[in-house]
């Protein structure tokens, strides 16, 4: 597939010479990538909010505070280096998650009860 995209949209300025060649290389001073999780208030789970680069965990926490909690969005921060996150592959999604689809009897709405006890 070889599609040339030349339309000049706002926020997208095509340049014939550019267009992002995707060659990834790690350079010496590249700080590792960290995933950031924020608890927005006591009683709630930490939730993934994004990522950032930092030399170490301390710096990752400090930067996360500046970047993700400027408007009282958090009361607690977790950081974890991205390389330590293990994830399911998109190709496995069917095999892993589809079996749940035909087990509707796991949901309360599957059971039709008389009105008198339907608050159950």
């Amino acid at each position: 597939m070889n599609i040339q995209i030349k339309k000049y949209f706002y926020g997208d300025i095509p340049d014939d010479k550019s267009g992002g060649n995707i060659i990834s290389k790690e350079t010496k001073n590249d700080w590792p990538l960290w995933e950031i999780f924020i608890r927005s208030k006591q009683g709630l789970d930490h939730k993934h909010v994004g990522s950032l680069h930092a030399a170490d965990a301390q710096m990752a926490i400090e930067n996360a505070r500046d970047v993700y909690t400027r408007r009282m969005e958090g009361v607690s921060i977790w950081v974890v280096q991205s390389k330590y996150i293990h994830a399911t592959a998109p190709e496995e999604a069917g095999e892993l998650f589809e079996p749940a689809e035909d087990k509707i009897y796991r949901h309360p709405t599957f059971y039709k009860l008389p009105d008198e006890v339907n608050q159950m």
Binding site: M1, N2, I3, Q4, I5, K6, K7, Y8, F9, Y10, G11, D12, I13, P14, D15, K17, S18, G19, G20, I22, I23, S24, K25, E26, T27, K28, N29, D30, W31, L33, V49, G50, S51, L52, H53, A55, D56, M59, D66, V67, R70, R71, A87, A89, P90
Partner: protein
């Protein structure tokens, strides 16, 4: 699975408004377009700090200074959200930044105009952030998941930017004769460049609208520009100022404002690097990067030492 099959699944997701996530299969051109667009967007946020940064030390009051600092800090955050989103597509931060510094990557041309008076800070917030918001609200529904999520975060922060800008102008518009003139002058200088932010006319495009089909973009340049004109033409009445366009007029039939033609020669000139501040902006970015080299090195060395100490303990 063959590439054809994968592409079919990909297009089905787009069709059904299911977001594309980093590890999903996607066509190369989709990846490249997103890398280019998101990184340009990131660069725009970062370079965009420069014209406003010019006035942080000269803000008229401590309150205005604190507000401007907060706004510029937000823009740094926006740049970061977007660089992170770019990285999910398999390009490193350093490459992206190198592309900016080498001049290979672009950023929004609006930031190549100078900020001459305090009123410019008001005009930027109202018009430039206002135009950016039009685009960004649309992009909260873009098809690439990390980009859409970054946009949701950014849009939450942006409305303060536009409001503080309008308020600066509102105060000036109710001030002395000189302040009123300053207000009008800033509007005169920023109006046309703000309209240019939306890019060339839709009809200028001879190529297929791949970005629309892939739902990266969801509204055309002219559509967004028209929405913007309709909004600003009403808001300016509150300021008692005038937009510098004699063709600006409400069109009852279309239920939109008609407006004059943009000076496209100026537009292309600035895109090609010949705007009033292109060189100054890139020089400032390169200088910041080069002078920060020792900090990056020191932090990396410190982290390495600490890791070794911890491993030994």
């Amino acid at each position: 699975m063959t590439v054809q099959d994968l592409e079919k699944i990909f297009l089905q997701k787009i069709e059904n408004e299911i977001k594309i996530e980093p590890r999903d299969w996607m066509p190369d051109a989709y990846r490249k377009t997103n890398i280019r667009q998101i990184s340009q967007h990131a660069h725009s946020e970062i370079v965009g700090m420069l014209p406003e940064g010019n006035w942080i030390t000269r803000a008229p009051t401590l309150k205005r200074k604190a507000i401007l600092l907060a706004k510029v800090q937000d823009e740094a955050g926006h740049g970061l959200y977007l660089y992170s989103a770019t990285e999910t597509l398999g390009i490193t931060r350093e490459e992206t930044i190198n592309d900016l510094h080498s001049g290979r990557a672009k950023y929004s041309s609006i930031f190549n105009y100078p900020t001459l008076t305090w009123a410019d800070i008001g005009a930027i917030g109202w018009l430039v952030d206002g135009a950016a918001i039009m685009n960004q609200v649309m992009l909260t529904r873009t098809s690439y998941g990390p980009y859409a999520r970054a946009m949701v975060r950014i849009c939450k922060e942006e409305s303060f930017h536009q409001r503080q800008g309008f308020e600066i102008l509102l105060v000036l518009s109710r001030g002395s004769k000189e302040q009123k003139e300053m207000c009008q002058d800033a509007i005169n200088r920023w109006w046309w460049p703000a309209l240019m932010m939306f890019g060339p006319h839709d009809k200028e495009s001879t190529h297929s609208d791949q970005s629309m089909k892939w739902k990266i973009k969801r509204k055309s340049n002219d559509e967004l520009r028209q929405n913007f004109v309709d909004m600003i033409a009403e808001q300016i009445k509150v300021l008692g100022m005038k937009l510098p366009d004699e063709h600006l007029q409400w069109n009852e039939e279309k239920k939109h404002y008609d407006f004059g033609e943009i000076n496209w020669e100026e537009f292309w000139n600035v895109v090609k690097g010949n705007g009033p501040c292109n060189k100054q902006r890139l020089d400032a970015r390169r200088k910041a990067w080069e002078e920060g080299e020792w900090v990056r090195e020191a932090a990396a060395t410190y982290a390495e030492k600490r890791n070794k100490r911890q491993a030994a303990a």
